[in-house]
Amino acid sequence: MTFRQRKRLIQASPWILLVSLTLLWEVVCYAFSVPTYLFPAPSDIWASWLEYHDPIMRHATQTLFTTVTGFAIAVVFGLILGILVGSSPLIYKAVYPLMIGFNSIPKVAFVPVLVVWFGIGTVPAILTAFLISFFPVVVNMATGLATLEPELEDVLRSLGASKLDILKKVALPRSMPYFFASLKVAITLAFVGSVISETVASNVGIGYLMISASSTMDMGLVFAGLVVIGIMGVVMYEIFAFIEKRMTGWATRGTDPGF
């Protein structure tokens, strides 16, 4: 195999795997005559998509909106808190245990509280997406800032640099790889948050669509919803992976971080 063929194979591998698994799934469902209301075959899911794609798209748009909004708030909030935590040992000591404790609480437990405060629908979904996804941003930002080489700091301080100078010129740019890596994790978590909230307390969104479809045993539609969430997650992840590569190519010394 030449180098180029190898490279092409590596690029195509996720698609090959996806197609093979789908085929296997179809064959298993067909061979064992699995009933659709228990476990639909890919062809059943496709049929549901063709039948319901308008409502699916409407609900998906809602989920995408709540996810991205919650994620955006999480990024801004996480960035600010991360900078505070990472640049002050006092704030670090004070905030960390609290944050770990908070992050250990399953966010689904918050949804009823949010419903009491804000009613059902969009707001609790946004807030749940936010609550579940800010943590990795904070931790990564703080880690990036706190691991600044002491000698580099010495070089700057002996030039008369203020704390703000060090933050702006060195610490922040240096933390960007950590930051972008956290975005990839956070966006996928944000989907988890918004869908959980929609499942419990909403009448719009993919989560709601799946709950209502499962109550009528329409498994084809439930799985169609799952697939749509998965696709949205992968697309958003890839977008942030691309931005990461563009913004912090220096961190991988110009080589492809994928391999």
Binding site: E149, E151, L152, D154, V155, L156, R157, S158, L159, G160, A161, D165, K169, V170, P173, R174, M176, T248, W250, A251, R253, G254
Partner: protein, 261 residues
């Protein structure tokens, strides 16, 4: 006139820790090249932190330019064993970093950027890095990175240059090349240097005065003037006179070892 002065300086890390250096008295004249040699852990880096005000002495006084040091100094150039160049900046932008920070230049950095860049290019050319201006640090070899690191410490024409084992991670050939580079920079346009090293040949080849420190707690064991004529050629390191000087200093360190055992 003395640029740096230590008066019976002792320093410990933390409240109860052992002394890192003890009762150090030394002075550095303006434009003098001073080397401090000693075994690893004897407090050489601590000495550097005291000079630049990054750490306060526990006892005694440190003066820089006649004023007592009480907090980080402004505009001292430093270079370490690791080049610490910023990987997202090109070599030229890396060495211009001090211009964006030092009080004297920062407010006119933007307006006079072209002029500063010209200065940066000229300095890079002097150390043999012409053509590397737009390369990123990770595209340079270790020796070239270290050259750039020293350029960064010198670009703002500091009154004092502090070098903390800047050649320790290089191979022997590259190290000698960099000795000559520092020698030439200093010879052409003298500045005050404190070079910390554990290499006696390096110290004798480059310095006017060599201080020998004992193993921790660091004390000054000996002070030796090096009166080899300047400019010094690398060939001087193979003369008997040079060998004798190195031998004498080595003897002091040997004695320290025996004492501690």
């Amino acid at each position: 006139m003395d640029l740096v002065e230590f008066e019976n300086v002792s320093m410990r890390y933390g409240e109860e820790g052992p002394m890192a250096i003890e009762n150090v008295t030394l002075s550095v004249r303006e434009n003098e090249f001073v080397a401090v040699v000693g075994p690893s852990g004897c407090g050489k880096s601590t000495l550097m932190k005291l000079v630049t005000g990054l750490a306060p002495p526990s006892e005694g006084y440190v003066y820089l330019d006649g004023k007592q040091v009480s907090g980080p100094q402004k505009g001292v150039g430093m270079a370490f064993q690791a080049s610490n160049l910023l990987p997202w900046r090109t070599t030229l932008d890396n060495i211009l970093l001090p211009m964006e920070i030092v009080q004297e230049y920062r407010h006119r950095f933007r307006a006079e950027k072209a002029k500063f860049q010209e200065q940066g290019r000229a300095l890079l050319a002097r150390v043999g890095l012409a053509g590397c201006e737009d390369k990123f640090p990770w595209e340079l070899s270790g020796g070239m990175q270290q050259r750039a690191s020293i350029c960064r410490a010198l670009i703002h024409k500091p009154a004092l240059l502090m070098l903390d084992e800047p050649f320790a991670a290089l191979d022997a050939f590259t190290r000698e090349e960099l000795w000559c580079m520092v020698r030439d920079l200093w010879q052409e346009d003298p500045f005050t240097v404190v070079l910390v090293t554990h290499d006696l040949r390096e110290a004798v080849f480059l310095a006017d005065t060599v201080y020998v420190m004992s193993k921790g707690p660091g004390r000054i064991e000996a002070r030796k003037e090096v009166n080899l004529p300047r400019p010094r050629d690398l060939a001087v390191t193979y003369t008997d006179e040079f060998a004798e000087l190195v031998f004498e200093l080595r003897d002091h360190i040997g004695r320290i070892r025996e004492d501690t055992q």
